[in-house]
């Protein structure tokens, strides 16, 4: 989708390290310095810029792999280990999967107690060399279908549990197609732990099932490895590798960028949620799910009893309220004690009275936390909504630009600035959205002021750019330079904000009003 977000560019190196569990990819080093827009920046105050390292604090190293690459890599590992162990590749594959692709452990264990590991992996005694084949056996009765035709083909693995080929086929395709099983399909024999190897499988099933089998194996491989993760975008086929471990997630927000264009968090697979760490995101989403609508309604429609703080909805009647819970009588308008109302019943005009003021103060306090939440939530939701609207406007504009190309003779390349602007807007709004969730949990300290300034600057830059999208179509052409500038500025502000938050997160400078763990 976008080639323009250079700061997220991935390093596509094919000589890979993906199998090496031990190669602890540090989050510090790695990506080549991003050629960001620093150079053509529209001269704003030099905040951090001059001392900024060439790599951004929020960048993490990652690599994108296609399923073919993953399979090729598995095959290569199998081949390597196969020659070390002296086992055929199909048996080695089963052994590797059994130990979740930990080569070193496999080789150690294999050397130490060969029998045990073969047994627990589902291979039985040392593999003999003759390849699996179909046989016709005289006097054979299949235990599954009870067929006793002497002419039927039969199959058995080395465990010698023999069944007719039809039943074996049916069994395997049920396992693979219906149950999604691949790495640990066992012999159909009762209580037999022998795992069906790929060579036997090849002999028995058709191409479509073989393909499905490979897909499932690759899926298991990725799921087994802590440093690999599928891109969660719908229909995306890629997997990404990143060295960030679960325990690092309090110090870093590992946003990765898939070939398909999807930005997501390697830690939790959710959409890019920088600058908020995964733990906060989880809390925030939970809170929003539970609270937002309810809280809105409560705020708009209820007050609390000044005595017992029960939440009360006034759904009709006069201002003389009697709390059902504590029987306190008070005035709905001024929240003061009803008995002090004297003769001016049902017509409250005594705003300045003491008891009323106190009650309102107490109420204000309890409302404050709700208001605080709503403050952040509304801005969070607003950016989410605006990002959608920006996209709508862009889609409309895109159509008009196509028309404009034909009428004014602008080339396709000349209208691409709109695309870039739209991408930048989306990305910045995504970031802004999460700054509000982040801010909700942030306890005030020295670092928060800079954060809020950055947030404000980015917000202004975004709103300015967003506004330009609403201009009539015939003016857009003349606004090209300005729009390019504003796009670059937005991107720049976003980088500054994320750099600052990531830096502080890494060095533990943020204080949160909740526990992250």
């Amino acid at each position: 989708m976008d080639s323009d977000d250079d700061f997220n560019s991935s390093q596509m190196s094919d000589e890979d390290i993906m199998g090496d569990q031990d190669s602890d990819v540090s989050v510090e080093d790695g990506l080549p310095p991003a050629q960001s827009m620093d150079q053509d920046d529209v001269g704003f105050e030099s905040q951090d810029k001059d001392i900024m390292p060439s790599k951004h604090a929020f960048d993490v190293d990652f690599t994108v792999y296609s399923p073919q690459q993953i399979q090729a890599y598995q095959d290569k590992q199998i081949e390597d280990v196969s020659s070390i162990l002296g086992q055929p590749p199909e048996a080695t594959a089963i052994l590797l999967r059994h130990l979740r692709w930990n080569k070193e452990r496999l080789i150690d264990q294999y050397m130490e107690k060969t029998e045990d590991i073969l047994e627990s992996a589902g291979l039985g005694e040392t593999a003999q060399t003759h390849p699996p084949r179909l046989e016709k056996v005289a006097g054979f009765v299949c235990d599954i279908c009870c067929e006793d035709d002497a002419n039927q083909d039969t199959f058995a693995m080395k465990c010698e549990h023999r069944f007719c080929v039809d039943c074996y086929k049916q069994y395997l395709s049920t396992k693979i197609k219906d149950e999604g099983e691949a790495a640990r399909i066992r012999c159909p024999g009762d209580g037999c732990n022998r795992v069906v190897d790929s060579k036997s499988l090849d002999l028995l099933v058709g191409e479509d099932i073989k393909d499905r089998y490979q897909v499932l194996l690759t899926r298991t491989y990725v799921d087994d490895k802590e440093n690999l993760r599928w891109c969660p975008a719908p229909n995306c086929i890629y997997a990404l590798q990143c060295g960030v471990k679960d325990k690092d997630l309090l110090q870093i927000v590992p946003t990765v960028h898939c070939e398909c264009g999807h930005d997501f968090c390697f830690g939790c697979s959710l959409n890019d949620h920088q600058p908020a760490p995964c733990a906060l995101v989880k809390k925030w989403l939970k809170k929003c799910e539970d609270d937002s609508e309810t809280a809105n309604w409560i705020s708009a429609n209820t007050k609390e009893c000044p005595k017992c703080n029960s939440t009360i909805e006034k759904n009709g009647g006069c201002n003389h309220m009697t709390c059902r819970k504590c029987r306190n009588e008070f005035c709905w308008m001024c929240m003061g004690v009803w008995s002090e109302h004297g003769t001016s019943w049902y017509n409250c005009n005594r705003f300045e009275e003491k008891s009323g003021t106190e009650a309102r103060d107490a109420q204000a306090k309890s409302r404050q936390s709700l208001e605080r939440y709503l403050h952040y939530y509304n801005r969070y939701a607003n950016h989410e909504q605006s990002a959608k609207l920006d996209k709508d406007i862009y889609l409309k504009t895109e159509k008009k630009m196509t028309a404009l190309q034909t009428t004014t003779g602008m080339s396709w390349i000349e209208v691409q600035f709109l695309d870039a602007a739209s991408q930048a807007l989306q990305q910045c709004r995504q970031t802004l959205k999460w700054t509000y969730a982040f801010a909700y949990y942030l306890a005030r300290n020295n670092a928060t002021e800079i954060f809020e300034d950055n947030q404000k600057d980015l917000e202004m830059a975004v709103e300015n750019l967003s506004e330009m999208f609403e201009k009539p179509i015939d003016q857009l052409q003349g606004l090209k330079v300005e729009m390019l500038d504003k796009t670059a500025y937005c991107t720049k502000r976003r980088i500054i904000l994320l750099d600052d938050t990531a830096e502080n997160l890494k060095s533990g400078n943020w204080e949160f009003n909740v526990s992250l763990s």
Binding site: C146, E147, Q170, T174, D178, E179
Partner: protein
Amino acid sequence: MFASKRLGKELSKLQQNLPPGITLVEAENFSEWTMDIRVVDENPLYAGEIYRLKFSFSTSYPIEPPEVVFTQDDAHPIPWHPHIYSNGIICLDLLDRQGWSPVHNVESICISLQSMLTSNTKKERPPGDEDFVRYNKQRPRDISFVFHDNQV
């Protein structure tokens, strides 16, 4: 077709001879059979009682396990057992996809259930029986049991 061929052969065998304590009650079609079992030794928990089992076969039987439950009527109670819920659902790894082998058949399941009862000494229902019976809407084959107890 797969299932019916095999079930046909099983049926003709069941009609010829059966182990003690197991009787074929009804097998009119190849989707549902009824069997009765009783415990042959002297276990006082089950003495004098006959239990009725309902077998339901899918078209992929015997690749997939059949669904087997105890059914209750005036003459047939649900046996007491820490792995048998009071609605007749049985928690046995043999009947689960993971523990099932296509080599098993109706007869071998009946024998397994007999021996499951024979060796039991506890007049108990599984933990959480009441809630399970009240709230469970799933068919037995869709429930993922955790087979934590291999003793009984």
